[in-house]
């Protein structure tokens, strides 16, 4: 079920740690105070790590001087210092994780926004399970890079520096020896970087693949059961999970090697240093406390390198996750054409710098020019692109269409003739490869949001969100009152059944409206369209089964909806076709016939044929039209 080609190496391998880090840390802009506090409070940790040796030396020297009073005094002072340090560290932890959490959520919320704004074709080429995996999992992993870099790398670097200075004051040569060996530890481990990063991209992709598999299984449980697919699915899951396991084991080996190599080198250096110091102490001139302080301090110069080396490994893994996150963030949204994009990103960056939390996305739908045709397609070329290496055959090659305000146009044709694609082009779900689509003179390529505000699309299968019925109706409009929502529901013939539900408009419907029947879902979708009050209605007539009564209810609501609106409807019902001002007959991406029911029948073409097939096999009472 899950394609292997999803597992590929980093999409954008050129992104370096630094550039990824800079982008990620940009999200701290809004929480600068907390972020800075977390960094400043790190000083408490530095004091502990550095002061440790000093305090020890102080104690041991006090002990050797056999002064009990001094020992008490030193103890009390140190005790107070420790208490202060602990408090500081508690605050540091608090700030660090709150800020981290908020940054991750800002990134997540951007990613969510961006995924909702990707072009429909782009989204169709990805599995929604993959997208949600990026949102749920990869964001956290990517953001961990900031913590790694700021709190671990930066801190350890600082620690090395301070320790070195401290050490150098006593003995420059030994200090240099300790310092010089540090980078050896660090760079020995860099051998693993590229491998780790690629491995982590693979692992994240595999995890996303598993999530997608599960999503299909859980959502299609009825089919899974009806066809007894359980064992086959379990096998597939176990197999794919095992493949993930192999990758994870590779990672374990790599990380294990990375950690142990650095720890080993470090330990060796430490022992050697201890030996050298002890050797120099043999010649006299160094107190026991001094030797001890030295051994500890060498550790302080050394260990940061070990930590840095290990953290760097974690950063490589995070980089894999951030590649997947940024891949989405860097995709063009529907509204962006090549040139605008750079400008927009700059603006966004500026906004973040100014500390604005949310970009003002929503633009009020303006009315457009009413003297212009309601819908105009000029020389539209379009081909479905399923994936980059598998371009589909062109569907439209120079389609022209004009629908005037107030007109009702019905589209008919065999399946695969391009009816649904036509409608999707008209509301900007697809952008033509060539040519233009404009609504009331508003070109969809140039101002998508504005153009879309002029159209209401009612798809064949209504899509409802888990939430209340009221929310579902009000989706797609801003600031509608409860009365207006009820009014729209009333017009759609939905008010009655909604009011019979225990919580009325506040009733929660399940996933995809699971607690409603097909007809109820359809009427809610129509109520949504009523509330939207857009001049152009794009309708894909439902073919899915509704019983007659519901069907006539739905049909009546649609008839009301079509009044006073320009309508382009994919017709499945004869009455719709008969009521239309104009009928378009489509075949293989071309409009092959056009006219009224009567004139088309007279033409004896495709329409007449389709019409005849339907009636010859039916015993329904025939009636002259």
């Amino acid at each position: 079920m899950i394609t292997d080609d999803k597992v590929k190496s980093p999409a954008n391998p050129s992104s370096t740690v630094w550039s990824a880090f800079r982008r990620l840390v940009g999200y701290a802009g809004l929480y600068r105070a907390g972020f800075m506090a977390a960094i400043v409070l790190l000083a408490a940790k530095l004091v502990v790590d550095i002061g440790f040796a000093t305090v020890q030396k102080l104690f041991i020297d006090t002990i050797t001087s056999s002064d009990t009073d001094a020992l008490t005094r030193v103890t009390v002072i140190c005790g107070i210092a420790c208490a202060i340090i602990i408090v500081c560290l508690i605050f540091q932890h608090y700030f660090r994780f709150t800020v981290h959490f908020r940054m991750a959520w800002d990134l997540r919320s951007r990613l969510f926004d961006r995924s909702n704004r990707l072009s429909f074709q782009e989204v169709q080429s990805m599995h929604s399970g993959d997208l949600s995996s990026r949102n749920n999992k990869d964001v956290n992993s990517a953001m961990s890079m900031v913590s790694s870099v700021v709190y671990e790398l930066f801190y350890n670097l600082l620690l090395t520096l301070v320790s070195f200075i401290y050490l150098a004051r006593s003995d420059v040569w030994i200090a240099l020896l300790a310092l010089g060996s540090g980078p050896v530890v660090f760079f020995c481990s860099r051998f693993f970087d590229r491998k780790l990063r690629n491995l982590s991209v693979d692992i994240f992709a595999r995890e996303a693949g598993l999530r997608a598999l599960l999503q299909e299984v859980v959502q299609g449980m009825t089919v899974v059961r009806a066809f007894g697919m359980e064992d086959a699915i379990l096998n597939r899951y176990v197999k794919e999970r095992a493949e993930l396991g192999i990758l994870q084991r590779k990672r374990t080996v790599l990380v294990g090697l990375l950690w142990q190599t650095s720890a080993f080198i470090n330990n060796v250096v430490m022992v050697v240093c201890a030996g050298m110091i002890a050797y120099s102490a043999l010649g006299g001139g160094m107190s026991a406390g001094g030797v001890l302080a030295f051994v500890i301090l060498i550790g302080r110069v050394q260990w940061p390198f070990v930590h840095m080396s290990q953290t760097w490994g974690a950063v490589q893994e995070a980089l894999g996750a951030s590649d997947r996150v940024f891949e989405i963030l860097d995709k063009e949204t529907e509204n962006e054409s090549g040139g605008e994009r750079a400008v927009q990103r700059e603006e966004r960056q500026k906004r973040i710098e100014r500390g604005e939390r949310q970009a003002p996305y929503f633009r009020n739908a303006s009315t457009g020019d009413h003297n212009q045709p309601a819908l105009m397609l000029k020389d539209v070329h379009f081909a479905h692109k399923i994936s980059a290496d598998d371009p589909q055959q062109a569907l439209f090659e120079g389609l022209n269409l004009q629908v005037n305000a107030g007109e009702t146009v019905a589209v008919v044709g065999p399946s695969g003739s391009g009816k649904s694609t036509l409608v999707r082009l008209c509301c900007g779900l697809y952008q033509p490869d060539q040519g233009s689509v404009s609504l009331h003179g508003v070109c969809l390529r140039e101002s998508l949001d504005q153009g879309r505000g002029l159209a209401t699309y009612v798809p064949q299968i209504p899509y409802l969100f888990a939430g209340t019925i009221g929310d579902n109706i009000a989706f797609g409009t801003e600031g509608k009152s409860e009365e207006e929502i009820r009014m729209a529901a009333g017009l759609a013939g939905a008010d009655d059944f909604i009011m019979k539900l225990p919580d009325g408009y506040a009733t929660h419907i399940g996933e995809h409206g699971a607690s409603l029947s097909g007809g109820q879902k359809q009427r809610i979708a129509i109520a949504r369209a009523f509330l939207r009050e857009a001049p152009l209605l794009l309708l894909d007539e439902a073919t899915s089964a509704l019983d007659n009564e519901t069907e006539s209810l739905v049909q009546r609501s649609l008839d009301v909806l079509m009044q006073k609106r320009t309508t382009l409807v994919i017709a499945h019902r004869l009455s719709t076709v008969l009521d239309a001002d104009r009928i378009l007959v489509m075949e293989k991406g071309w409009i092959v016939e056009e006219g009224t029911h009567k004139s088309l029948l007279e033409q004896q073409g495709l329409y007449a044929k389709l019409y005849r097939i339907q009636f010859q096999e039916s015993d329904m009472p025939k009636e002259a039209v």
């Binding site: 999503q215 999707r424 209401t456």
Partner: protein
Amino acid sequence: MEKENRHDEIKREHAISVSDALKRLISLGRPYLGRYITLCILAGILSVSGVFLAESLRRIINAAVDKEMSGLISGLVFALIVVVTDALGNFISTYLSGTLEIRSTASLQATILSKLMRSKTRELERFHSADLIGRIQDAAPAAQTGINEKTIQLFGNVLQVVFLLSYLLSLQYILTLGTLLICILLPLVMVPFSRRLRNLHIEREKAVAAQQSFVQDALQGAEVVRAFSLAPRLGSQFRQRLEGLTALHTRVTRLEAIGYNMPFAVVLGGLLYVLSFGGYLVIQGRLDVGAVAAFLITFDQITQPVSRLANLWTELQSALAQGSRVFEITDMEEEKATVRDDGKKYGEMGTVSFEKVSFGYGSSDLVLSGVSFTIEQGKVTAFAGPSGSGKSTILNLLMAVYEPLAGNIDCDMGSMADIPPGEWRSRIAYVSQEPYLFSGTIRENIAWGRADADVSAVKEAARSAGIHSFIEGLPQGYETRIGERGLTLSGGERQRLAIARAFVREPEMLILDEPTAALDSQHEEMIQQALGKLMQGRTTVVVAHRLSTIRDANVIYYLENGSIVEAGNHESLMAEDGKYRAMVEKSVHHSENPHELAIEGGYL
């Protein structure tokens, strides 16, 4: 489907107590006991190496103080051996625990998935699909890793602490006892917080699950989201939810900030104690300076295991919360096993009869109230009636997706209540109005119908469903990949694939839920022929609104409000002048155009 009361039911979650959850969490680790022991022994060896490193440093320093060259060299050699052993041991330990984690997690995940697929539909419906997925993909690893890590940490660290402490005891017992006391007392500070922390964790996981459900809904509704420009609104809802989550998270962080720093306080307190009291002992002449130094270094070694031990309970809270989420699934009531106890094979399904069957979803009203009817072998039985009258429910019962609340379903195999659902379902094929396909190749999708279907069977089925030539026309033919839920295909193509899937299954009973709804007229004719072929010699149950589909049925049941109000064939029902006839006539006359048969349709 009517399940308005889902939400009330969702509230009856947390039924699992802490001790219970802990016990079960531990039981997750039981199969890996051997691995745990190996790892603990390794940890023991490694902890000794810590002592030896301290000892070697003590020797080096003492050699320096005593100005003894040979002691220095032996100390150095000793230290090097320790360092090499330490690195090797650590690597092996990392590898073993890593593979343990991978293996145990994968096996737990598979267990949950298989459990999920065997659980009763009624139980599954309480959860959003994203929530269920999260429990497999996120909660299971968190719980399993939690228990693995914590078990090993517990044993390993206790061992390490024991070793180091006995070494310290050999140096100076009063000093050691004091250290011990500090190590034990300070972490206890966190105990009162742990319950609150756990509850917060549970709440947070729930909020995260809700968030993931929201994201999944939005991503799957991509078309509507764009057509209605919902992005800004969804974005603001997303952020609103975030506010709630942030508040929860802040509370968790606040507690954790204190909890995680407690061990550090132990370390500082301990050091202070060693230095001041040890110093006092040195001044008293009861200890040498080298011993204090060794003490300090050992104490440094001891801090890691001690702080891990101190954090164990706090960290376990999150694993416990995740564990409860997993156990909620493993506790679900299961359907009957697929294999019959006595190993006998079942005969044919034969005629199926419903006797006073009642059913309702969730806690809402009954959808079916005591219906009785028979579905005769080899005949076509149709159900008609307004929406919500219970037609689809009958199909769900026939597929054994639900069990009747009261009444009985019988067939030649016996009572359905005694037949394993898997056995029952192996005899049926289902074609729904909205075909549900899976990502993968076209061949795979058709072959889902029967486990042992080969390529020729798949092609034959495709030919019968009238989609073979379409598939052959695709660049990659049967190996063409279709996207999520087959969204790259048109409605008619999807439906014909679903029908091919039913063909390949060669079922005894065919269950059709408005199967030709999405097809245009040319294809519908083809499909009707194909279905006719498929229906031959098979029992067929069909729910339909198209007259053309139900007119030829042997028996038509007209349902209203969960009861059968009329039964008979088309002619007898039309003659009866009842509701069925009214429905037919109403549909014919309700508009100015008596025939609603459209270019693509064939509606009543």
